[in-house]
């Protein structure tokens, strides 16, 4: 090999290597490349930090900030010593029924979004931009970074389970908001010991948070229960389905019989 061809080969190799490294850590899903996703509307489920179908079972001094409820079941155990603040406990009442109904709508909405990227498995070490990320059984053993603005939306679709390992972390950068991070899980979600998790989990079956796991978001289970153990589950506040307020538009008239006093 001549010197010039060796230099070309070397520079080409380095360039290819750089591309490979970048492609492993920064997954494109930029707003410029994809139409911006709208948030998943949670409706009445939005006020809940924890919502199960059959049971909510807690061990230890868990703090739940937001509503806590079950629908179709009647078992909420462990409160106290668990504490519910900035919300109330709803056991198969009108609001929990409305919330479960709206959870189904939200789940189906998230599941129906077109993926920005598919085939994800391990989320460790990834820095993701706004978009829809799809995979089978999703796992997180280290740190997942979500980089975007306050109104940018991140949606994860797991066709199987979601499992976060001990000490794992979801990190928000660039102003990204936990209001706009959604996890649609077609089976069950498990947050292992000490996980620092962000976003709203919408699990088809059940959700469990092991000792010391913290959630800036919501744990919502459609058909099973939610199991807690010395956790902090803080539902995000200042979330609106439309993000920042937009200018109101003129009303659309509805044809119909007027019944005002005249």
């Amino acid at each position: 090999m001549t010197t010039s061809s060796r230099r070309i080969s070397t520079s080409l190799f380095v360039s290819l290597g750089l591309v490979a490294v970048l492609s492993l850590t920064v997954v494109p899903g930029t707003p410029s490349a994809n139409a911006a996703e709208s948030p998943v509307g949670l409706g009445n489920a939005g006020s809940f930090a924890v919502l199960g179908a059959e049971t909510v079972t807690n061990t230890g001094p868990t703090i739940v900030s937001g509503d806590l409820g079950v629908n179709a079941g009647s078992a909420v155990t462990g409160f106290p010593p668990g504490i519910v603040s900035n919300g109330s406990v709803h056991i198969t009442d009108t609001l929990s029924a409305l919330a479960q109904k709206d959870l189904v709508t939200a789940y189906n909405d998230a599941a129906g979004r077109a993926p920005t990227k598919s085939g994800l498995v391990a989320l460790d070490g990834l820095t993701l931009t706004p978009g829809v990320y799809s995979g089978g059984a999703l796992s997180l053993g280290g740190t997942l970074t979500l980089n975007g603005g306050a109104s940018d939306v991140f949606i994860f679709q797991a066709s199987s389970t979601l499992i976060t390992g001990s000490g794992s972390k979801v990190l928000l950068t660039g102003g990204a908001s936990e209001c706009n991070v959604f996890w649609q899980v077609a089976s069950s979600a498990t947050l292992e010991t000490g996980s620092a998790f962000v976003g709203t989990v919408m699990a088809l079956t059940s959700v469990s948070a092991a000792t010391g796991a913290t959630v800036s978001g919501r744990l919502l289970a459609r058909n099973g229960g939610v199991t807690l153990d010395n956790n902090k589950i803080i539902r995000p506040t200042s979330c609106s389905t439309s993000g920042s307020p937009t200018p109101a538009t003129p009303a659309t008239p509805v044809p119909g019989r007027a019944r005002f006093t005249g």
């Binding site: 979330c239 109101a248 009303a251 005002f260």
Partner: protein
């Protein structure tokens, strides 16, 4: 691209700041001082056009539009649910509230039903929020309705208000729906208000709700002649119907 996103973030910050710091209702220590009435226009002339990135948004208030089929209303943030409202409303209009204040993920709103002036708390994630720029002021003494845009007087209209026996209720309300009436007597358009007659508990099959609408009785305009509604000429109500969103505040004095 980055500049456009930065601009949108800055505008959003300014809008949010104006909502929370007093362009809408005055709130101190979580307590609302007075009703959501906009302040009178200052003597400062309307500003000349400025670049969009720096333009202040003089939000008169915020409308909250329901995003699910039923909205739960509570007596306090996170408190017991005491009311469940259907969306859309019985008229078919999208359920809309006028925001009083927002705290920690909850919005206190004016409610569209009796009693007059009722309020409640709803989860902020159950609604979409929209800034308002118009508001209306009605004088039952002068039988006038004045349209303001960003606190600047746009136009004063002659209207009919209620008689002594069926007065138009006074207070701060908002527009809850817009109909294109299929029955006679209401003109081409009729806004429903969050105000209800304090005399009539029912009228025409309805619950005694006050409307702002056109009329086939143009001779009543400028007089205290209605059963509580605010009547306008058909041309005037058509003009208002083309610009006013649901949630627009209307103050009746």
């Amino acid at each position: 691209m980055l500049g456009a996103r930065l601009a949108s973030v800055l505008v959003a910050v300014m809008v949010t700041s104006s909502l929370l710091t007093g362009c809408g209702p005055v709130v101190q220590d979580g307590v609302t001082l007075g009703t959501p009435s906009p302040s009178r226009p200052s003597k400062t002339p309307v500003a000349a056009p400025v670049p969009p990135i720096a333009a202040p948004v003089l939000a008169i208030g915020t409308a909250a539009t329901a995003t699910s089929p039923r909205i739960s209303v509570r007596v306090k943030p996170g408190g017991a649910v005491n009311l469940s409202l259907a969306n859309p409303r019985p008229s078919g209009a999208q359920l809309t509230f006028l925001v009083v204040q927002s705290i920690d993920g909850w919005v206190e709103v004016n409610l569209p039903d009796r009693p007059n002036g009722s309020r409640g708390w709803i989860d902020s994630s159950a609604v979409s929020l929209h800034t308002l720029e118009y508001d209306l002021r009605v004088s039952t003494q002068q039988n006038t309705l004045t349209l303001y845009r960003n606190n600047t007087l746009e136009k004063t209209y002659s209207v009919a208000t209620g008689t002594g026996g069926t007065p138009t209720p006074r207070g701060s309300f908002y527009l809850t729906e817009l109909l294109a009436p299929t029955n006679a007597g209401y003109g081409p358009y009729a806004f429903g208000l969050s105000a209800y007659s304090e005399v009539l508990t029912s009228f025409g099959g309805g619950p005694g709700q006050i409307g702002l609408h056109g009329t086939d009785d143009s001779g009543s305009i400028g007089k205290s002649a209605s059963h509580g509604c605010i009547r306008m000429t058909n041309a005037d109500i058509t003009a208002l119907a083309s610009v006013l969103p649901l949630g627009t505040p209307i103050t009746i004095e």
